[in-house]
């Protein structure tokens, strides 16, 4: 039975609130119902339904688009945890389709090929909440200003290399820290430079963090990577290729879930990191030309 008649749905509190409930958890990329089941069994808090994981998108090339609605429906039928799906940057129509499919969150994602080189989706116009990627504070606040109810630092998806993820979450934190204690004049100048309202900068600096839940994404491949993300201040982690490109997906998935909970406890981390078999093969950043970096998409 749906929400009661007089209740208000799709409010900022409900949009932002679902992300709050996902905190301390792991959101896993899955490409079919069987993988979604494995993710749920392992303790994922949500799954991201997509056609190909980022490492395959990187390998295959071509245009990466929204997934087939049938595939998303199949995954929704298979699990009881939230199901997210990706739309191309600026692709309002893909987002409308995903909203009509009743997905729980839309990821306006640089992992897919951008559809608009000028505008991101106006996310305030939608009932369904959005998560977006960022590399720095300005990008995060622009997306939040457009209506994103959750953020994720981008990292470099499909690489199994956490270095970019670390760089992006550090950058956001350092840029907030640099504005701490600054007067109104300085904050107004920063707001102008970042092309966002002063009030948004003010609340962010006051809180000492982004005003919405922020996960780390892009390159997480091991339990230790997840723990490092949490240690750097992430609210949770997205794992893409890192699970189903590992030798033992179910075991790796469960271990990453445990590590995200027990990130402070090195003894537990040692226990859950043992005997997982080979992790996904990673890519050294120097071997990826600037123009092929997914994190450069979006602005």
């Amino acid at each position: 039975m749906p929400a009661p008649k007089r209740a208000k749905t799709s409010t900022w509190a409900t949009k932002k609130g679902l992300a709050q409930m996902l905190k301390g958890g792991v959101i896993m990329d899955v490409v079919n119902p069987a993988e979604a089941k494995i993710a749920e069994e392992a303790g994922a808090v949500a799954v991201m339904a997509l056609e190909r994981v980022p490492s395959d998108i990187r390998r295959d090339g071509g245009v990466a688009r929204m997934s087939d609605p049938d595939m998303i429906k199949g995954i929704q039928a298979a699990v009881s945890i939230p199901v997210m799906a990706k739309a191309r940057i600026g692709h309002e129509s893909e987002a409308r389709i995903l909203e009509a499919l009743d997905v729980d969150y839309i990821d306006e994602s640089e992992v897919l090929t951008p559809a608009d080189d000028r505008f991101h989706i106006n996310k305030h116009d939608f009932k369904v909440p959005f998560v977006c990627g960022c590399k720095d504070l300005g990008e995060a606040l622009r997306r939040i200003n457009e209506g994103a109810a959750m953020m994720r630092t981008k990292g470099e998806a499909g690489t199994g290399n956490i270095v970019e993820a670390v760089r992006h979450i550090r950058t956001v934190a350092e840029e907030i820290a640099a504005l701490k204690g600054q007067g109104e004049k300085r904050l107004r100048a920063a707001a102008k430079e970042m092309r966002v309202p002063y009030e948004l900068v003010k609340v962010t600096v006051k809180a000492g963090r982004l005003p919405v839940v922020n996960f780390v994404a892009g390159g997480i491949a091991t339990p230790a990577d997840a723990a490092l993300s949490m240690w750097l201040g992430a609210d949770g982690v997205f794992v893409g290729s890192g699970i189903f490109k590992a030798k033992n997906p179910a075991k790796t998935a469960a271990a990453i879930v445990q590590a995200t909970t027990h990130w402070k406890n090195a003894k537990v981390l040692a226990e859950v990191s043992a005997g997982l078999g080979e992790a996904m093969k990673g890519i050294e950043m120097r071997t990826i030309p600037e123009g092929e970096r997914l994190s450069k998409r979006g602005w």
């Binding site: 905190k23 301390g24 909203e99 469960a254």
Partner: protein
């Protein structure tokens, strides 16, 4: 033996979910909260909060780290336990549609995601029965996120909040309280105050 504290320490299950919001609420009420991830974290806590989150993930983490029986013994010793949303699911004696119960401390049957997916998450006001000794029923603002519903309340428990359409969204059994919504994100302090006063009383 529990040491006498002027104010009790309240544990907040921190395996997953919005535990930081609950800790923040406790802090704003001047009470020490403690993150609980392992059984040893429960030593010395006088009350416990099971936060919102994904109940399937929390269930797995509770089993994996053997937290079930220490939480049950905490309840047996009279410590108050509050479960919000996923936390209420963990407390229930019965979960509709096949899932096995987790803690079985609250005599209710719940249904997960009873209102639907995220687009059916909602905000509303509702009347909640007074909880404390001084408590009277009052209207509170509540946020429901992919929320569960309490389908049936068994003989040992009773409903303490319902929606306009009669659906039950909170139930209490002595010092165990399960609610389907999230006072920790709306700044509604009454439920936490009740937990703290019960915990103080339980300390003797």
């Amino acid at each position: 033996m529990a040491k006498r504290h002027s104010r009790p320490i309240i544990g907040v299950l921190a395996v997953q979910g919005d535990f930081a919001e609950h800790l923040h609420m406790l802090e704003s009420l001047g009470v020490e909260g403690r993150e609980v991830r392992l059984p040893t974290d429960l030593v010395g806590v006088a009350g416990l909060i099971l936060p919102g989150g994904e109940s399937t993930a929390m269930r797995r983490l509770l089993h994996r780290w053997d937290l079930i029986s220490p939480i049950k013994s905490l309840a047996k010793r009279g410590a108050p336990i509050l479960g919000t949303c996923a936390g209420a699911i963990l407390l229930a004696t019965k979960i509709a549609d096949g899932d096995a119960p987790v803690l079985s401390l609250l005599d209710v049957e719940v249904r997960r995601n009873a209102f639907g997916r995220q687009l059916e998450s909602f905000e509303t006001s509702l009347i909640m029965e007074g909880l404390g000794s001084e408590g009277r029923s009052r209207t509170i603002h509540a946020v429901f996120i992919r929320a569960p519903e309490i389908l049936k309340v068994g003989p040992s428990a009773r409903a303490v909040a319902t929606l306009d359409d009669g659906r039950i969204v909170a139930a209490r059994q002595g010092r165990i309280l399960g609610i389907a919504f999230h006072p920790e994100i709306t700044g509604e302090t009454g439920v936490h105050r009740w937990l703290i006063s019960e915990a103080t009383a339980a300390l003797g």
